[in-house]
């Protein structure tokens, strides 16, 4: 009887109404843009991807002892494997999720491949976008080309040449693509960035469909971003490491590839012409302060922006940092996330002055010494006027903005009497803030990215401070620096692109002018290599602690070379008594015995120019092999 009942096969079919069809995703702009925008969500937050994060792996930073597990310290030890599955860095995580709004769930390695697949899937389905105007089609295609190249580029920075993926693989396909050379990858990425630049508008607000989200388009990919990365991609491809291969000795550090650098200069030139012609929404943020230690901007209607707003905002309704200068940023979804615990990882932990995790980003003394004099000369120039008895006097204005030095008034608000001794930083040898465990071992703190008021008593990191930090991936200042480098690589200080009026030297001076520092001195402009040195020093200062230094040392073939392989602490004795600092500007303090002490020496070989790939990934087939030496 029961066997007479025919099993209806459809009983086990998935109900058609319960299935989201992929056709839906591509049929109109609204849906297709929704398909694309998941990619934005995947862009890792370099600064806030963990309770305590690490992103400066060059000669720029050290952590205190409790941060020894962090990438910063592990790179010092030559353990470049530490990027894998680690907590605390944006390259990789053991658990990621493209859809998560949790900033801890995004990392470069897994998300890059996911987003590249997604970009390819979008590009392969462009023909399904039928209910759309040409403008809408261009916006979609432009974003997809951009992202395909961008994710590849970010990977290439660390791993070198990889397969360049430009199709969607099927479920059953056998994957055996070989790794390409860096140049081959860069050519493909360049082609994609170029397409994106051609398809995308300068400002979405000025397009018909972009007007639907007007005022909220700052993070959406535009022509300026595409040009910026087009140039960056070529400059990297033309850099000494990529041209000459990994090697030690430093002899090739000025040996750039002229063709790529020319291409880079043209891209940057086009960008800068648009910016300086007032055709874009971008400008250099203003550097006009009436109280530089507290980052309080100058009065007056002409002061419309603040340099510090590039990195953090406070008291602005949790506005995302970036000001008018940030070009490429990912989302910063969890706006109060800065205070768990990024904003608590820059100041002294002595007596709980800055609360929570005992991790402190400290600038190395060798790096701080890149901050030259206000007259534009480097410290070691005989004419610089640098006085080791007054080492904090007449420095580049950015020094006072970025660096906390001896005698600096760290706490503005009232605090208990027994804590008063910590109000002015004792950063001299044996000072109150020189504990290896809970303060600075180098003699400095950083306040560029997080203001010093992020402490227990000033309470900038409390809810009421609405302190929001974010590190932009690319900003206009960087474009000037990269333009200058690309031009200088080809023709020195006076070189320029065909499409922009300024020379390399002018570009550097544009940044110097902004901060009211002296121009590049003539003795550094005559010789190409000397000028390149000055470009590099400017890059170190302007982009300090923003996560670029490691890649720069890599591509300049300097990572392995002295003095870029040591980290130092600044040792000196106070001459003034403690009361001096209560009434005087600490920069005017006299000190004695100013000397550097090496605290870290990095023993690197050629293998350290590229990161090691994951062992599982390189064990699948021989053509996807490991970077040399690992």
């Amino acid at each position: 009887m029961i066997f007479g009942v025919v099993s209806c096969e459809s009983y086990l079919d998935k109900e058609a109404d319960s299935t989201i069809s992929e056709v839906e995703a591509f049929k109109n702009f609204t849906n297709f843009q929704g398909f694309v925008e998941e990619i934005y969500n995947c862009i890792p937050d370099k600064e806030k991807n963990d309770w305590t994060a690490s992103w400066n792996w060059g000669d720029d930073e050290v952590f205190n002892l409790e941060g020894s597990w962090h990438m910063t310290n592990q790179v010092d030890l030559g353990n470049f494997w530490a990027w894998q599955n680690g907590g605390g860095n944006w390259l990789d995580k053991s658990s990621t999720d493209p859809t998560s709004t949790d900033k801890f769930k995004h990392a470069l390695w897994p998300h890059a491949w996911y987003c590249i697949r997604k970009a390819n899937m979008g590009l392969e389905n462009l023909d399904k976008l039928t209910e759309a105007t040409q403008e809408e089609k261009d916006l979609i295609a432009g974003q997809l080309y951009f992202f395909r190249a961008w994710w590849h580029f970010e990977l290439m920075q660390y791993f070198g040449g990889l397969p360049y993926i430009d199709k969607v693989f099927s479920a059953t396909e056998k994957l055996t693509l070989p790794r390409l050379s860096y140049a081959e990858c860069a050519d493909k990425a360049g082609a994609d960035f170029k397409k994106a630049a051609d398809l995308l508008p300068i400002n979405w607000d000025n397009t018909k469909v972009g007007a639907n989200t007007t005022g909220k388009n700052q993070l959406r990919i535009n022509k300026i971003m595409a040009l910026g990365y087009l140039g960056k991609n070529y400059l990297w491809a033309g850099s000494p490491l990529m041209k000459n291969g990994a090697q030690t000795g430093g002899s090739q550090t000025y040996n750039y590839d002229a063709t790529y650098c020319t291409k880079a200069a043209e891209a940057f030139g086009e960008l800068l012409t648009l910016v300086e012609g007032g055709q874009t929404q971008y400008a250099l943020a203003q550097y006009a302060y009436k109280d530089i230690y507290n980052h309080i901007k100058a009065d007056g209607d002409t002061v419309k922006s603040r340099f510090a707003d590039l990195f953090y905002t406070t008291g602005q309704g949790w506005l995302m940092p970036g000001s008018v200068e940030a070009i490429f940023r990912g989302p910063s979804t969890d706006y109060n996330g800065s205070n768990w615990n990024t904003t608590k990882t820059f100041g002294p932990k002595v007596q709980g002055l800055v609360e929570h995790d005992n991790i402190i980003h400290q600038p190395t003394a060798n790096y701080v010494n890149f901050y030259g004099m206000a007259n534009g000369l480097p410290l070691n120039d005989p004419q610089s006027g640098f006085d080791p008895n007054y080492p904090f006097k007449n420095r580049d204005p950015r020094f006072y903005h970025d660096i906390v030095f001896d005698g600096f008034k760290y706490v503005n608000s009232t605090m208990p009497a027994e804590m008063e001794y910590l109000r002015y930083c004792g950063l001299h040898t044996g000072g109150t803030m020189r504990s290896e465990a809970s303060a600075s071992k180098t003699g400095y703190f950083i306040q560029k990215l997080v203001p010093h008021t992020a402490n227990k008593y000033d309470g900038a990191y409390n809810w009421s401070g609405s302190l929001h930090t974010y590190l932009p991936y690319m900003r206009l200042g960087d474009i000037y620096l990269m333009y200058a480098e690309a031009c200088a690589a080809v023709g020195g200080a006076s070189a320029k692109s065909t499409n922009f009026a300024k020379t390399a030297e002018d570009a550097i001076n544009t940044l110097r002018k902004r901060v009211k520092a002296g121009s590049v001195n003539a003795k550094y402009t005559a010789e190409r290599t000397k000028f390149i040195d000055e470009v590099r020093r400017e890059r170190a200062v302007e982009l300090s602690f923003e996560g670029f230094r490691f890649n720069d040392l890599q591509r300049w073939l300097l990572l392995t070379e002295y003095p870029y392989n040591v980290k130092t602490a600044q040792e000196f004795d106070r001459v003034e008594n403690d009361d001096f600092y209560k009434t005087n500007d600490p920069r005017n303090a006299r000190i004695s015995n100013f000397r550097e002490k090496v605290i870290v020496t990095r023993l690197f070989g050629t293998k350290h120019y590229w990161f090691p790939l994951k062992v599982k990934d390189i064990s699948i087939y021989p053509e996807f092999g490991q970077n040399p030496g690992w």
Binding site: S7, K14, N41, A82, A171, P416
Partner: protein, 1057 residues
């Protein structure tokens, strides 16, 4: 009084059922008329029914074998009378818990029937898939135990936990003692797939959680292990099947059982940590040891004078400044209690039989109660009420309707919104026991503020975490309903019958009922031992800068239903049975069609459809043959691969029935069995979510990027490819072979069985994330059938039963199970060396950097193999890590298989007991070996002074140490060696009991039939090298720890009215 009560009870059941259905009443009338009409030419038989102890049995049922409508029930003296159609009739005497007896009267009119306790022979009938079989004709590998056996697990309220050791082939693993979450992980005969090894659990034939059943309602538990036994369950049966059958009423007057248990629980073994003094001394040693490579560690050296303060503070102030906290002592009470009360009533008439029970369990909390100044008490706890009614209606002579209604209401108490015990945040409630340093702060200072550690945000104060956590209840309500109609179809052909059933199960979860005290900070403080200065977490109120005041700001919440946990299951089955005897030939056939629809929350329901059949053939009770088939469908596969046919067969030979065996009188019984067959499986669970529609590429819609710099989200909603489908994906199949031997010698003195088994599983689904696919594929690859596993093993069982001349019965059960699996294929990266692959090793094989002793001096340090990471941090006293692949460098390629997997290969059980008059006693030992458990107890983690007592440290003058000296600042690599991989073997005194049963005069005079008082215990002693008493890490990683597992001491009584 007792009689009256019984009468009322039976009237209640009788009258309600009649009211319920006038139709039923009509049937009753007809059948009783029938009885009366037959009552002519009668023989009158009288008798007494007694137990082996010669106690009269009240309420035993006596029916005529040839016509079950003729029957009677014994009275208070165990007497009955019955008028029968013939003096040569056969009567059947039965009583719950006793072995049913058939008696041929042969003319006798006054008889005494002695019923034997059925626990000795309960396995006469064995519950098998979709039916029952006689033990002697069984050919599959099935073991069965009774509710009675489970009841002796002292004070354990969880069926799963009570199974331990009682069923050969079943391995249980306990990971936590959290009230209400003590369900162990159960594996039958080892795992043969990485896609989960959970057996299928059926309660009264329907897939249901074991935790919804109370032990007192269990009649029997049968475990089906080989292909022929599990084949009829098709899919899902591949990991074995556990069939739980609940008790049913038997004809007779109401029998009332009451039992009560009072249990005292104390924590079992916990890790040993140093106190502050010892830890700080050890820290100086560790720092001294590494100064050569990290001189800056010197800043952490503590002077002896300071360290002394921790042990000998001179006043209360110093005791707060230099804390020395025994966290285990602070966090846990000395003991806690649990109790259980059960009442059940059963009985019935020819028309309706009933079993009804109510069972209440309370599990107390071992965590200390704190005064939080907020007028509520946080903590854990579990209360469960289970109610069950099983009714059997004899609607007509050929029609039976069974109705089962059961409900379970489990109320878990926990801190607010902290329900998943393996979550890190939840584990902080007991983290103190595992990893909080003794010197970091005082749990609660004299001024009422709680301790905290400002330097690291992740150092929990377990006491404060618990005390201020709010409190809530999570209520699991589960209602299960079965309607089963059985119709004898002998009017079509003799031996044919039909069974149809429909079951609805619903489960609801309510949570957030209680006190929500989130974000209402209390004052936390820390006294810096260096300076004596106090740091307050809240020096002042953040916004208005006034002094901080702890306020009582919690609010109560009335609870809400977790819509996403609401479960609704529907199951219906149609079954045809046919069985006939033709002379010596015994033939049967059975076919079932079943469909299942289950859904939780808003999910699209799971659908499943199975067609199965079984035929059996027996000749002369000597040769047995069975053939099963299952035609299974799964929504997970494409239409082409969706349905598959799996079949199995088994042979049995009862050798002792052969003439040539008759002279060997010392052999009571000898049987050999063999089975072979194939079973399908489609289960693959990733992150606790079963993968569905694996053949389809699935898309998802929802979510928005945050693209607005002013904290808004984009208006464009994501479309995304959620999972890549693999059109080729198909059934995972396991070929199971089983050889069995059952024996019994010397009149039952020795009995038992031996089983040999082998599972060959192929086409095992490999989840995309575990496949070797190049990373640039870009998303989780599709699930594919790429795995192969072989599992082999054996089970030995020996039961000894000896009744001495003085009627003392001695008994013992000994069993051992060995099961070992080996992966033959699993999409490993092709370029891995053999030892790096999963294939060739067990599922879950542990790996480690294996050492060859210590590096004893700098010469040996320099001569030791270079480490690819932080080689500069090597020191004398480190492990000499073996360069396994001899490539001149220690790197991840030297992480090699070491030890065993987390699942034991061998389990042993020994139970010994005796009974004499009213006395009984037994002890049960349970042990496992060939298992490795990872317990990462890292000393000085986070630069805290947590030091575990794991053995002596290496030193210059102490090179035969047990472990390396832990590091303070330096970060050596691979230096854990194998020290956190513990031999997970243990032997434990699992259960012990002494009991006395009264059924003498004074008990009678209280109106009781018998009274049993017992003292028993569970998990009383454990012998193991593991630092804590956990058998597995599933309720929280090894180093994270879990709510302590418990030792239980239980006093109970059980009485029958």
């Amino acid at each position: 009084m007792k009689n009256k009560f019984r009468k009322i009870m039976s009237n209640v059941f009788f009258s309600t059922t009649i009211k319920k259905s006038s139709l039923a009443f009509l049937f009753l009338l007809v059948s009783s008329c029938f009885t009366i009409s037959m009552a002519q030419n009668r023989v009158f038989v009288r008798g007494t029914v007694v137990s082996e102890q010669q106690e009269p049995i009240i309420g035993a049922a006596i029916v005529l074998k040839s016509d079950k409508t003729v029957g009677s029930i014994t009275d208070i003296d165990g007497k009955f009378s019955l008028s029968l159609p013939s003096a040569n009739a056969t009567i059947v005497v039965s009583y719950l818990g006793m072995q049913t007896q058939e008696i041929e009267l042969k003319g006798k009119t006054n008889i005494i029937v002695t019923l034997k306790d059925s626990n000795l022979n309960l396995d006469e009938l064995v519950v098998v898939g979709y039916g029952q079989q006689k033990k002697e004709s069984l050919v599959g590998a099935i073991t069965q135990t009774s509710g009675k056996v489970l009841e002796r697990a002292g004070g354990v309220s969880n069926v799963g936990a009570a199974l331990t050791g009682n069923l050969p082939g079943v391995v249980t693993m306990q990971s936590s003692g959290l009230p209400g979450e003590e369900d162990p992980k159960i594996i039958i005969r080892g795992s043969s797939s990485w896609n989960g090894s959970d057996p299928l659990v059926l309660v009264d034939g329907i897939e249901r959680p074991m935790s919804g059943v109370d032990i007192s309602s269990v009649e029997s538990i049968s475990v089906l292990k080989d292909a022929s036994a599990t084949a009829v369950f098709g899919v899902k049966g591949a990991n074995g099947v556990i069939l739980i059958t609940t008790k049913r009423g038997k004809e007779g007057s109401a029998k009332i059982d009451v039992s009560a248990n009072m249990t005292v629980k104390v924590p079992s073994k916990l890790p040993n940590k140093f106190d502050s003094y010892d830890a700080l001394m050890a820290r100086n040693v560790a720092i001294e040891n590494e100064l050569g490579i990290t001189p800056e560690s010197w800043s952490y050296i503590k002077p002896q004078s300071v360290i002394d303060k921790y042990r000998y503070p001179s006043n209360a102030l110093e005791a707060e400044r230099y804390p020395n906290v025994d966290w285990q002592d602070v966090l846990f009470k000395d003991y806690t209690t649990s109790n259980n009360v059960n009442l059940n009533v059963s009985g019935g008439t020819a028309f309706v039989k009933y079993f009804t029970s109510a069972d209440f369990v309370h599990e107390g909390d071992i965590l200390e109660e704190w005064d939080n100044g907020r007028n509520y008490q946080s903590g854990y706890g579990y209360n469960r009420l289970n109610i069950r009614t099983n009714l059997d209606f004899q609607i007509s002579k050929t029609t039976q309707l069974k109705v089962n209604i059961s409900g379970s209401n489990g109320i878990k108490k926990s801190p607010w919104n902290q329900t998943n015990s393996s979550d890190w945040a939840v584990a902080q409630q007991w983290a103190g026991a595992y990893n909080i340093a003794p010197d970091v702060f005082i749990p609660q200072y004299a001024d009422g503020s709680w301790g905290f550690y400002p330097s690291i945000s992740n150092v929990s104060n377990s006491a404060a975490n618990l005390a201020l956590a709010g409190v809530m209840t999570t209520t699991n309500t589960r209602i299960a309903t079965d309607f089963v109609l059985q119709q004898d179809l002998k009017f079509i052909t003799k031996g044919l019958s039909f069974r149809g059933s429909i079951s609805w199960d619903n489960a609801f979860v309510e949570y957030n009922r209680g006190v929500n005290d989130l974000y209402n900070d209390a004052q936390l403080k820390w006294i810096d031992p260096e300076t004596g200065l106090t740091t307050y977490k809240k020096e002042y109120e953040n916004n208005n800068k006034f002094d901080f005041m702890q306020s009582v700001l919690w609010n109560t919440s009335g609870g809400e239903v977790q819509d996403w946990s609401t479960q609704r299951n529907l199951n219906y089955q149609l079954q045809l049975n046919w069985g006939r005897e033709f002379g010596k030939h015994n033939v049967s056939a059975m076919g079932v069609m079943s469909r299942q629809e289950t859904a939780t929350g808003s999910m699209i329901p799971f659908y499943r459809e199975d067609w199965v059949f079984r035929t059996t053939y027996g000749y002369a009770n000597k040769y047995f043959f069975e053939y099963n088939g299952a035609y299974n469908g799964s929504e997970r596969f494409s239409a082409e691969n969706r349905f598959a046919f799996f079949n199995s067969g088994a042979l049995g030979w009862l050798i002792t029935e052969e003439e040539f065996m008759k002279p060997l009188r010392f052999i009571d019984m000898l049987k050999v069995r063999a089975s072979y067959g194939e079973i399908g499986d489609d289960n693959i669970v990733v992150n606790n979510v079963p993968l569905r529609w694996m053949y389809m590429t699935q898309w998802a819609y929802g979510g928005n990027s945050s693209l607005d710099v002013s904290n808004g989200t984009s208006k464009y909603t994501w479309y995304r490819e959620k999972a890549v489908g693999n059109p080729d994906v198909h059934w995972e199949t396991v070929k199971k072979t089983n050889l069995g031997l059952d024996y019994s010698f010397l009149g039952g003195l020795f009995a038992g069985s031996v089983e040999l088994f082998r599972d060959n599983r192929r086409d095992i689904l490999v989840d995309g994330a575990a496949r070797a696919v190049a990373p640039y594929y870009g998303t989780t690859p599709a699930t594919a059938n790429l795995g192969k596993v072989k599992t082999e093993g054996y089970e030995l069982e020996l039961r000894i039963n000896k009744v001495l001349a003085n009627k003392m019965r001695l008994w013992g059960n000994f069993s051992m199970t060995h099961a070992k699996n080996i992966i033959l294929e699993k999409d490993d990266p092709a370029l891995y060396a053999a030892y790096q692959k999963a294939s060739g090793f067990s599922i879950g094989q542990n790996k480690a950097y294996v050492d060859a002793g210590f590096v004893n001096n700098y010469d040996e340090v320099y001569a030791s193999t270079v480490h690819d990471k932080t080689d500069l941090h090597k020191l004398p006293g480190d492990y000499y890590v073996i360069d396994f692949n001899a490539d001149g460098v220690i790197d991840s390629k030297d992480n090699v298989p070491y030890g065993y997997s987390d699942n034991p290969e061998n389990t042993y059980n020994a139970t010994l007991g005796f009974e004499w008059k009213g006395f009984s006693a037994f002890v049960q030992f349970y042990g496992v070996n060939n298992v490795t458990r990872v317990v990462n107890l890292t000393s000085f983690g986070n630069k805290l002074n947590t030091v575990y007592d794991l053995g002596t440290w290496w030193a210059n003058d102490h090179s035969n140490a047990e472990i390396t000296t832990p590091r303070w600042t330096s970060t050596p690599t691979y230096n854990d060696g194998t020290q956190y991989l513990f031999d997970g073997s243990y032997v434990r005194l699992k259960n012990a009991e002494v009991a006395y049963t009264f059924n003498g005069g004074w008990v009678k005079s209280l109106g009781l039939n018998n009274l049993r008082i017992f003292l028993n215990g569970n998990n009383l002693w454990v012998w193991s090298v593991m630092p804590d008493d956990r058998e597995s890490n599933f309720a929280g990683a090894g180093g994270q720890g879990a709510y302590p597992t418990m030792k239980r001491f239980n006093l109970g009584l059980k009485l029958t009215l």
